[in-house]
Amino acid sequence: MRNLLNIFIGLVFFSLSSCKEDPVKTVPDPMDELKVTIQPTFGSTALQLDQTVYTNEGYAIQFTDIRFYLTSLKNSSGKQLTQAALFDYRNNGTALFNAPGKPADFPSLLGYFGVDSSLNHDDPTAFPTTNPLNILIANDMHWDWNPGYIFLKIEAKVDTLTDGIDNFNHYVVFHVGADAWLQPWSLSGITWSQTSQYLHTLPLKLDMQKFLQNGAQTIDVKTEHSSHSLAGEEALSIKVIQNLRDALSPL
């Protein structure tokens, strides 16, 4: 009788444990990842949105929006790191993108400042919802499909009167897009910094002082304060996108 009882208890214990499903192992294998960040600066000083800084002309300026696209980022052999990245300082801070990749594969990066014309006229609703080109992420960085994406948005409030009284009632709105203004962008000799076992980071800076004063290519926000890439705005549009591209460099 005691043997039977022991067998019974053993069988019950066995049966209670035998049909439990093993927990599914969902931890993926570690993957090398590359991360790019951008710190806006004004000269050598970190820049915050809505912060007052002064142009070379002495105007007080507060940047309120800094956004732009980099697309088709590849190495010199054509291996793609990411299809598209959107820098959005207001909403995403200094983050540009994270993508799977090994630092040794990307000693250089080539791509476009703006949206590659092969992507620019695609349906913005059709990109995956995690892609920066999807309309849910692009948000107002897109003109109703054609002509396509807005490559960059720089908006600011300016006080052009150097009278010591704050009066930021002069607005700067640069919205540049259209295939004609797409700019090639490249970076070579990249030094990726290892920030954890599988993560390497490339910190960049965006010097907004250089954006306004790019050598001889100066933007005087008192007289050059609006562009939507329309006819008649060509000279300012190209200057804006080239200056912003040139303002981007390793930190």
Binding site: S17, I135, W145, E155, H228
Partner: protein
């Protein structure tokens, strides 16, 4: 003894292999997303189910959610008014009025923040607000849940929707959020214009509608998009007809309602409000966060000649120097004709969105 042992072993084996949540087999709900819309991102902790949507629809019209059993979500978001309130301000169960106009419920599944000041970061979080609000439904969630729990039908519906006994505020909000995510509007005349303009495939129904788009409506659309016309596109574009942003659109020189600034405390946000969609705009009067404009003519007048400067005005109000875009009478009429194309009667009259009754 041996036969008894066999029975015990069989019972033990049966118990050991039983699944949890017997009877919980929800059916996935397939959203009817128009072909020209982006995918909708569904929260992982609130997947769409047929049972959840059905429960949410019933709860949307449930007056027990209010303190005196007279008010439901639909009281301020009525289908006939494109799920908004035709009054400037909604009146709660205690006869108290709020100070903001009820927002229309349309295509909310694609929005990122809710309420005019964006204080809710999800639909579920937004739905938590009106029940305990003393100037709205004025009832604690505890009391609301207790009322629902008295109803055996609700107990079963919640069980079917969530696979476990019990009702709580989180489940109520999740179910209503599921229902609201089904409220998709994408069958207006504008949708046909949008698809045609962008060379998207037109259904046979679209092809029948396309010839009915008048030259005036096309001209109004051109004005709508033109930077030197009505200049509406900065804030209202694409299939959703809005952007995710807060803006001060030049209505006041100083602010009695801080808007977004009341949430963030940031002086740069004072007087900024969520940009609403223009879908079904002809059905959602009155307009603006405080419902100050009774009709579309007044809205067009504002953007045409009524802009007022203030420290936080949106830099994109680029015609501020002339107080607006200066549309003449004919242009105003064309613009209004285009705005009427945004009406989607299939949405408003969709039987799936009406009161399910008992």
């Amino acid at each position: 003894m041996r036969s008894l042992l066999v029975i015990f072993i069989g019972l033990a084996l049966f118990l050991s292999c039983r699944k949890d949540n017997v009877g919980y087999e929800p059916s996935p709900y397939e959203l009817e997303i128009p072909s020209h819309f982006p995918d909708m991102i569904i929260p992982k902790d609130n997947p769409m189910t047929v049972e959840g949507v059905a429960l949410g629809r019933k709860l949307f019209y449930e007056e027990m959610l209010s303190g005196d059993n007279t008010m439901s979500c639909a009281s301020c978001h009525a289908p006939v008014n494109s799920f908004t309130d035709p009054n400037q301000f909604s009146t709660g169960i205690d006869g108290i009025q709020g100070n903001r106009n009820s927002m229309a419920l349309v295509n909310l599944g694609w929005q990122k923040f809710f309420f005019w000041d964006g204080r809710a970061g999800s639909l579920e979080q937004q739905i938590l607000g009106p029940v305990p609000n003393p100037i709205e439904m004025h009832q604690s969630w505890k009391d609301a849940v207790a009322k629902l729990d008295q109803d055996v039908n609700y107990r079963n519906l919640f069980y079917k929707a969530f696979g476990e006994p019990g009702i709580d505020s989180l489940k109520v909000t999740k179910a209503i959020a599921q229902f609201i995510r089904t409220m998709i509007s994408g069958e207006s005349k504008y949708d046909v214009m949008y698809k045609f303009e962008n060379s998207l495939p037109l259904s046979s129904n679209d092809q029948a509608i396309l010839p009915t788009v008048t030259p005036e409506e096309w001209a109004g659309y051109d004005l709508f998009k033109s930077l030197n016309g009505a200049d509406c596109l900065h804030c209202h574009s694409g299939v959703l007809m809005h952007i995710n942003k807060f803006s001060n659109n030049g209505m006041d020189a100083s602010f009695t309602d801080p808007g977004r600034g009341g949430i963030t405390g940031n002086p740069n946000d004072m007087g900024r409000f969520k940009i609403p969609t223009l879908r079904n705009i002809a059905l959602t009067a009155p307009y603006m966060h405080d419902g100050r404009f009774a009709n579309l003519d007044q809205v067009i007048d504002h953007y045409s000649t009524g802009l007022v400067s203030s420290p936080t005005i949106d830099p994109l109000m680029e015609h501020l120097a002339t107080a607006g875009v200066q549309l003449d009478v004919q242009e105003r009429d064309l613009l209004k004709k285009f705005l009427m194309t945004l009406t989607d009667y299939n949405f408003v009259n969709n039987p799936k969105f009406q009161d399910p009754g008992e």
